[in-house]
């Protein structure tokens, strides 16, 4: 803590996970996230952990399924097509209440797409992603320092509520270098509490089962309602959001992750030009900070959404504002990165050609 170190985003997320107690990583190569498994391959053995280069993303997520069932803090990472492959396993973990942790360093799609930064996996991340009614706790970092510090929060939320958690980054955040400051001391997994659901040596305790099925009539419905309650509690207690200058704003700029960085620069330009522009940056995109948007829309009647996808994030903004303000969208999908200048131009236009 206190020490600043220059790190690449992907390395920061890996180091952050290890410091947060991660002791098992399984993954498969894919650009632009390769620094994560590469880092883990030498770093985990230093702390007595296990790194496995799996035969596929599918195998990797199932290795996590097993290791997490034993109570270990685990991690896998991938980029868009690889995360698609992991969705079956993520759904099983949601059903079996296993707090796996993973990162999606998003690239352009659909299909093989490209290796440029994108935010086009927003729906997949925030709507569960795989089959079934479930949610994943999704943190969207906007800096390398956040990449480094968010894994700890993911483990804490994940193990508290027993749900999968993830970091939704992109190629830009993964590849860029920034000074990093950790906001926590390294966590020793041996000092963490024992859980009453983990598999392993029994020492006489009753046997335990980890499963995601229940064929008894009505049981799965009951379980889904239990999940819903947990999700509601997480939404009430674990939603995170950053705001700037919303109090007097005539227009609010909003985006998450890399798009939010651009928004921040545009806000600074606007304020300098005497325009009353604010910012809302969700830090968790599930749960979504609906209340903050709803309250802001009572006063501010113009919103400009900036996203590196074709209009996915805007859905959640609309669902929060419910028609109380005018919303416009600036979109740059599959490798297009918005500039602060182009956003500032749009801001000026929306505010009446100042």
């Amino acid at each position: 803590m206190g020490e600043r170190k220059l790190m690449k985003g992907n390395e920061a997320i890996a180091e952050g996970a290890v410091r947060a107690g991660c002791r098992f990583f399984a993954g498969y190569p894919i650009t632009p996230q390769n620094e994560i498994p590469e880092y883990m391959s030498w770093r985990l053995p230093q702390v007595g952990g296990t790194f496995i280069q799996a035969e596929s993303e599918v195998a990797a997520i199932n290795m996590l399924f097993g290791a997490t069932a034993c109570g270990t803090r685990t991690m896998t990472s991938s980029s868009s097509p690889g995360i698609s492959l992991k969705q079956e396993g993520i759904s099983y973990c949601a059903g079996a209440r296993l707090p796996i942790f993973y990162a999606n360093v998003v690239r352009g799609g659909p299909g093989l797409g490209n290796i440029a930064p994108a935010q086009s996996d927003y729906y997949q991340a925030t709507r569960g992603g795989g089959h079934g009614d479930y949610r994943v706790y999704v943190m969207a970092p906007g800096s390398v320092t956040e990449m480094a510090n968010f894994p700890r929060r993911c483990y804490e939320v994940g193990f508290k509520y027993r749900i999968p958690t993830m970091i939704l980054a992109d190629g830009l955040l993964g590849q860029m270098m920034e000074p990093v400051e950790f906001d926590f001391e390294p966590i020793d997994p041996a000092a963490l509490p024992e859980y009453d659901w983990t598999l392993g040596v029994r020492n006489g305790r009753p046997r335990r089962r980890v499963k995601s099925y229940d064929l008894a009539p009505g049981k799965m419905e009951e379980f889904n309602f239990q999940l819903e309650k947990i999700y509601e509690e997480i939404a009430a207690k674990e939603t995170l959001c950053e705001t700037q200058f919303c109090e007097d704003a005539d227009l609010i700029l909003t985006g998450y992750g890399s798009a939010a960085r651009v928004c921040k620069s545009a806000v600074a330009m606007a304020r300098k030009a005497g325009l009353k522009v604010g910012l809302i940056r969700p830090i968790t995109v599930w749960p979504f900070p609906k209340k903050i948007f709803a309250e802001a829309a009572e006063k501010t009647k113009k919103f400009l959404v900036v996203e590196m996808s074709l209009g996915q994030y805007i859905d959640d903004v609309q669902l929060s504002i419910l028609g109380k303000a005018r919303i416009e969208l600036h979109k740059r999908p599959a490798g297009g990165i918005p500039t602060a200048e182009e956003v500032f131009e749009l801001v000026k236009k929306m505010l009446g050609g100042v």
Binding site: R23, F24, A26, T50, I52, A54, E55, S56, V58, A59, A60, N62, M63, L64, F65, G66, A67, T68, A69, C70, T72, T74, E88, G89, Y92, A96, L199, G200, V201, R202, N203, G204, R207, R208, R209, V210, K211, S212, Y213
Partner: protein, 259 residues
């Protein structure tokens, strides 16, 4: 009165849901007896597949996990790597192990994961109602090969033990059956060997068990046993395919190809 026999502690009291004449129940008991005999029930973790034995996590009296179709070896890998003191076994059918989970099976074996797979080969998808399996015999009818499996349409049935025997990491591979009492006893021995090798941390072990499925073969249990004897075993020869006690495979490559 002196008790000379009792139900193994390796099984729970939950009644199994298998069809009459099915081999799963017999194999469950053999595995359970061996785990009890080796005194490792307290540190065993069972992995149940998707298929007829999906409820295996209910039946084995040890910690258990039920996972996605075919991913047992990957799940076992995750468990064993973080809990090396546990005895980890994946119980899988032919569709699970040799079709959807083929990659996980081969790679776990090749990594020499110190786990045991109990592989039930009954040449059919039982749970879903009798579709063609990767081990369905040529000419054998199923709901998706209604006129019999052909090489042209479906290729050849996989011989999993022989396939895995080429991998350095697979140390013990034996094929057994449970169609006669003598074969049941041989099978028990094989299962015990596999688990013993795991306890000794020798590497990947698998016992393939040729089993009968009267329901989806549309046969009486007796005819199903006859089918195992006259059709299955000639194609899937029984015996030790690879063992740490014999460095070389007991059969020559030519013999294996022609078997």
């Amino acid at each position: 009165m002196k008790k000379v026999f009792e139900r193994t502690k390796g099984l729970t009291e939950i009644p199994m849901r298998y069809c009459p004449g099915c081999g799963h129940g017999v194999v469950h008991r053999l595995v359970a007896e061996v785990l009890e005999e080796l005194d490792v029930l307290d540190r065993s973790v069972a992995i149940a597949p998707v298929g007829c034995s999906v409820f295996a996590d209910e039946y084995f009296n040890c910690d258990a996990i039920q996972g996605p179709h075919g991913r047992g070896p990957a799940i076992a890998t995750g468990i064993k790597r973080v809990k090396p003191e546990c005895i980890v076994f994946s119980y899988q059918g032919d569709g699970d192990l040799a079709s959807i989970g083929m990659a996980e099976t081969i790679h776990a074996a090749n990594r020499a994961e110190n786990i045991t797979i109990i592989f039930i080969n009954n040449a059919i998808y039982g749970m879903t109602g009798g579709q063609m399996a990767p081990t369905t015999l040529l000419g054998m009818r199923s709901t998706t090969s209604p006129h019999g499996r052909t090489v042209e349409a479906n290729g050849y049935p996989f011989k999993m033990c022989e396939l895995l025997a080429t991998l350095e990491g697979a140390v013990y591979l034996e094929r057994c059956s449970v169609h006669t009492p003598a074969n049941v006893l041989k099978c028990r021995k094989a299962i015990k060997k596999a688990f013993t090798y795991q306890i000794e941390r020798r590497g990947f072990t698998m016992v393939e068990i040729i089993s009968q499925c009267p329901t989806d073969w549309e046969m009486t249990p007796l005819n199903a046993i006859e089918f195992v004897k006259t059709k299955m075993i000639p194609y899937f020869p029984l015996g030790v395919i690879k063992s740490p006690e014999k460095k070389e495979s007991p059969k020559s490559k030519e013999e294996l190809v022609n078997a």
